[in-house]
């Protein structure tokens, strides 16, 4: 039996706008276990940040129950704040303070915690100890933001979009730091709209759309719900497209969907499907323009559930 770090039931958050009320979070249930890395995956505007900020005690929910580390906001605020670490989606730390000065400042707010020197070591900022924030790169700033979340030696860490807008190398560095959190036995809740990030980092993922959890499980489990583990994507060099019925009838094909840039087949065994696909294109007198195969990802899960892509406005016709 695993113990629970975060539990929330039927969470709702309504914003009043000029055009009436908008439900940012609309009946969301969540259970995060102690020691796991849990991901909220969803497109921009799905309600991830609103949810995480309610769990962090920075926003008040319109209704619903929230329990964090067995405590409630409004009752044990100081205790909770001492035991959690937070990195907001966007914080512009003072430009003219050094890394060490900022960490010392944040450290002073906590009763117990880690030496700033140890934190800098852990996030790879030791060499930048005396550098002003204004002189740091985007990746270094983001690592500093995570470092600020760790000074209080928290048992539970919230990271809101920790790698958004970073270059690939900086993202990998942050992934290393986030994996370390799990090894140290900390619980991590992170939000992301990058499916690769969720797949690599998270023990379990909740896919969020329109303020609701629409799928929950380990990345592997979620991908398995597609019924097949590979995706074959191809495009033809003609105006005509092959018939969808014939594509669905190809061996080992579970699902067919059309993208603006081609057609994607979810398949169990690509080596069975591909020769049959080539034969079919030949019979219909179509020329193959491109063909790729890849493992199915959380992105495919999201597309299957919503008909939309995670980080684009692109729609999909089934």
């Amino acid at each position: 039996m695993q113990s629970t770090a975060i539990r929330c039931r039927n969470l709702r958050k309504q914003y009043r706008t000029r055009n009436g009320a908008v439900d940012a979070v609309n009946g969301l249930d969540l259970e995060v276990w102690q020691g796991e890395c849990f991901g909220l995956l969803g497109p921009n505007g799905a309600g991830k940040t609103t949810t995480i900020e309610i769990l962090e005690g920075l926003l008040e929910a319109t209704s619903g129950e929230v329990e964090v580390m067995g405590m409630r906001w409004g009752e044990n605020d100081d205790d909770l704040r001492q035991r959690i670490g937070i990195s907001l989606q966007e914080t512009r730390l003072p430009e003219k303070l050094s890394v060490l000065e900022i960490l010392t400042l944040f450290r002073s707010f906590y009763r117990d915690g880690n030496e700033p020197a140890a934190i800098m070591e852990a996030v790879g900022l030791t060499e930048k100890a005396r550098a002003w924030v204004g002189k740091l790169s985007g990746g270094q700033r983001q690592r500093l933001a995570v470092a600020c979340a760790l000074v209080g030696n928290p048992g539970l860490v919230f990271l809101d979009e920790p790698t958004t807008g970073l270059d690939p190398q900086s993202r990998r560095q942050l992934w290393g730091i986030i994996r370390d959190l799990g090894r140290q036995g900390r619980t991590t809740l992170l939000t992301t709209h990058y499916m690769d990030e969720a797949e690599r980092l998270c023990d379990r993922v909740a896919v969020v759309d329109h303020g609701k959890v629409i799928a929950l499980g380990t990345p592997t489990e979620l991908i398995r719900t597609l019924g097949a583990e590979h995706v074959v994507e191809f495009g033809v060099g003609d105006v005509r497209q092959p018939s969808m019925e014939r594509l669905s009838a190809l061996p080992a094909v579970r699902e067919v969907r059309g993208d603006p840039n081609g057609i994607a087949l979810t398949v169990g065994e690509p080596h069975v499907t591909i020769p049959a696909l080539l034969r079919l294109l030949g019979e219909e007198n179509l020329t193959l323009a491109r063909l790729t195969t890849r493992h199915a990802s959380l992105e495919d899960v999201f597309v299957r559930l919503t008909g939309r892509h995670l980080d684009e406005e692109q729609t999909v016709s089934a």
Partner: protein
Amino acid sequence: MCALPEGTWMKNRPYPLKELLLARFREFCREPEVIFWVYGFPLLLAVGLGIAFRNRPMEQIYVDVEQHASAEAVAGHLRKSPGFVVAIHSAVECRERLRLGKSSIIVEPGETYTFVYDPTRPESALARQRVDDVLQRSAGRRDPINTRENQVQEAGARYIDFLVPGLIGMNLMGSGMWGVGFVIVDMRVRKLLKRFIATPMKRSDFLWSMVGGRMLFMFPELVIILGAGALFFGVSVRGSLFAIFMISLIGALCFSGLGLLVACRAQHIETISGLMNLVMLPMWLFSGVFFSADRFPAVIQPFVQALPLTQLNNALRAVILEGAPLATQAVRLSVLLLWGGVSFLIALRWFRWN
């Protein structure tokens, strides 16, 4: 990258209030523009205004005498008195020179003397009196009363003496409002306030650090303006330095409270800039920074006197110029404390952290 070692506790946990104050102090010192506006600008203003309004030597009076048989005699009388620059010109030339401001008055000699001048020009009005005086006396007028002159030019009664306390007051207002109000809204825009309340930081520590920072930065402001006044213009302080310090401290406290109040809800830099100008403009105009607030009509005096900057300037002038003891300023200081205290309480009630 390595994992965090377990249990690396800090032996001496830093004090949050001290660290917050240190952060304020460091940020302030590392911002050259802020240093200029807080310390350099009032200095330049004092020096500039001090030079512009310095006491000038007695002005010369330029008199033209129109060509006439008795022109030389008239000019002779005038030249015997000090302070006149006299020239004789043709009628046309005289008019031309008066029009161009090269002379202040034309004397047309004859049976009766005619003074041609523009009474709305102060120097011409003065010239008319002086010229008339000299000519009447030289023609034999005897004054019924003997008068004597005892000319005084004392430090303490000049414009610069009046100006320096006003500049101190104005500066305390400006840097209190900007140093607290603007800084807080900037932190709100940067989501730094939100980040702070996501930690166990005590909110009161944060607010005290803002006010405490002001108290700290106020002291050099005071020293620089008073020092520059003494050094460049010989402005002397009649009251005690302690009294000036205490009044400034209470002034700074009052304007930190107001700064906090205008910043308590504002979400944008533009909003706070506008709000602060709205609050400060009436005080720049009415609170007697550059000229005495007593000059405003009696109808608006209750409003003028209710402004905190008026009370701060009055108290500073009383101590610096008149040597009043601190205790006599109790009422003025109470007005300041009331403004500051009420603002602070309302700000606390309405403060928006997110």
